[in-house]
């Protein structure tokens, strides 16, 4: 019985020692979206937040053609929780990413329109990311479409 108690105590202590430091509350949002142009190799650079990544995988996921990035504009915004929302003209989906050890890791793919988004634009809102497509708006979170489609 004593031995079991000691093992439990040690386990509790070690769990406490391993817990990571969290700074809260935090707001990781970008005030306005960034419009990025992939270069020939598919690389995009976001100067203000010093982010760069290769977007070819995203275009391949959307069009099954990694060369489709040429001449397009990729729209990107980060919400309060630090999730990155990416889409582009003619994309059917909005892609949600989070930071991984070695790049951006897809969290979710949100289907917006089977016919493709015509004029996408992201807006930062207090509780969600707003996607504007011409006259239509969609309230997005990293979990999907939050509100009713207008």
């Amino acid at each position: 019985m004593r031995i079991k108690l000691m093992v439990l105590l040690l386990a509790a202590l070690s769990i406490n020692g391993c817990s990571s430091l969290v700074l809260q509350p935090a707001d990781l949002s970008w005030p306005v979206e960034s419009v990025l142009k992939p270069d020939k190799k598919g690389m995009v650079e976001e100067d203000r937040h010093s982010i760069s990544f290769n977007a070819k995988g995203l275009y391949f996921a959307e069009f099954q053609d990694s060369s489709a990035s040429t001449g397009t504009e990729l729209r990107m915004i980060c919400d309060k929780l630090g999730y990155y929302f990416l889409t582009s003209k003619n994309f059917k989906n909005v892609y949600v990413f989070e930071r991984g050890d070695d790049g951006l890791v897809m969290e979710r793919k949100i289907l917006i329109s089977e016919t493709g988004i015509k004029k996408p634009a992201f807006n930062q809102r207090s509780t969600h990311i707003q996607l504007v497509d011409g006259g239509k708006t969609y309230n997005l979170t990293h979990e999907g479409i939050a509100g009713d489609q207008k």
Partner: protein, 415 residues
């Protein structure tokens, strides 16, 4: 009643439609729109050619501020590194700086135009004085009255030329406001302002005329070392201002062959003026010898001067015994006592040495030659000094012997 309801419904629909459009707008588009309008105003400020063109920009800044005030929160967050208020304040500052620049340019151009009138008047006056001096200089045997008149006219002309020079320097200086001078390269607008200022004051022509008149003045007058020192100082000031502005003018008139040619002419006139000042010293020195009856060959630099003077003295040394003694002594006295030691050595040598127009070695060469010449004219007769010395020694011995007291023995014998 039905029509009232219809109107209300229509207005409500219209407003909701407007609201819908506003809410569906992209924040990014708003920010980019603000940036584009702000950049456009900034470029209008930069490219404005005049105060009149700049005028409406103040209203445009106010309109921009009013139009985007509603998006202040978004813009404050998005306009990194500035916020909305700072961006508007920056535009206003740009406007004020440019406005100040135009006001300075307007004042400077008015100054150039005003100075141009004064310069024109002085140009005419200087011409009249130059002609009068040339006429008087042409008279062979000048009486005291004529010489006095000539001196007065020369003084007047020198003062008048100096006054005109100051004005032309000011005109050249006024072509570019201080802000423009600090720029590494001038914009098309800056160049246009300079061209306009130059044309108003006819600056290049006046610079040419000023240098020409100064050179002519040196050619028709005989000046003292102090006058030349003053002229050199004035020349330095003028040249310094011209070097600075002239370099910029080369850039301004790069495409204008005629004006580029004028700038090159001014540069060559400057070197002619520099040479004329140096030449004037040698010319006046030769004149001073001539006034005392010593006719030297002409010379325009220290090397020639030394060679001419040494050759003259060598000739005179050779002629000792050939010419009469009185004649030889007269030439020496006129050369050495009345000219060299009376005027050249005390008055001109400090000027020539200070301005590096002659070296100490050259000066010593001439003075050694004068000593050699003097020894020939007035030889050192050692035997006269020997006789004088012997006479003096004899006289001293005689006096000493006479005063020697008589011995005691001699006294006793007498008793």
């Amino acid at each position: 009643m039905k029509s009232n309801n219809f109107i209300i419904t229509f207005v409500v629909l219209l407003l909701s439609g407007y609201f819908f459009l506003v809410t569906a707008q992209s924040d990014y588009a708003i920010v980019e729109n603000f940036k584009a309008k702000s950049d456009s105003i900034s470029s209008r400020i930069e490219t404005a050619d005049s105060l009149q063109q700049l005028g409406p920009v103040a209203e445009q800044i106010a309109e921009l501020e009013q139009q985007f005030k509603v998006h202040k929160t978004l813009l404050d967050k998005s306009l990194y590194p500035y916020d909305f208020s700072r961006s508007i304040a920056n535009l206003r500052n740009e406007f004020i700086i440019r406005q100040r620049d135009f006001i300075t340019i307007d004042i400077l151009q008015a100054t150039v135009a005003e100075l141009s009138l004064h310069v024109e008047f002085l140009n005419e006056r200087n011409n009249e004085l130059l002609v009068k001096i040339q006429d008087l200089e042409a008279i062979q045997n000048k009486d005291k009255k004529t010489i006095a008149r000539l001196e007065n006219l020369t003084t007047d002309l020198r003062a008048s030329i100096y006054k005109r020079d100051r004005m032309v320097i000011e005109m050249v200086d006024s072509l570019m406001p201080p802000l423009m001078r600090e720029k590494a390269s001038l914009t098309a607008e800056d160049k246009q302002e300079i061209i306009s200022g130059e044309e108003k004051g006819n600056v290049l022509t006046n610079v040419k005329r000023t240098i020409n008149d100064n050179t002519t003045f040196l050619e028709v007058t005989s000046l003292k070392p102090n006058d030349l020192t003053e002229i050199k100082k004035q020349q330095g000031e003028f040249s310094k201002t011209w070097r600075y502005i002239g370099l910029k003018l080369i850039d301004v008139y790069a495409a204008d062959e005629k004006k580029s040619g004028e700038i090159q002419t001014i540069d060559s006139l400057f070197s002619r003026w520099y040479k004329a000042v140096d030449k004037e010293a040698w010319y006046t020195i030769r004149e001073e010898f001539a006034e005392n009856g010593i006719q030297l060959q002409s010379f325009t630099d220290a090397e020639q001067f030394t060679a001419v003077v040494v050759a003259f003295i060598n000739d005179e040394i050779k002629n000792i015994g050939v010419k009469s003694e009185i004649e030889s002594k007269n030439v020496y006295d006129n050369f050495a006592d009345s000219t060299w030691f009376a005027s050249i050595e005390p008055n001109w040598m400090p000027y020539l040495l200070d301005n590096k127009l002659i070296t100490d070695v050259q000066k010593d060469e001439i003075e050694n030659k004068i000593s050699e010449w003097k020894s020939g004219i007035y030889p050192f007769n050692w035997w006269i000094y020997l006789i004088i010395a012997l006479v003096i020694i004899g006289a001293v011995i005689f006096i000493v012997l006479r005063r020697k007291p008589k011995s005691e023995d001699e006294v006793v014998i007498k008793e």
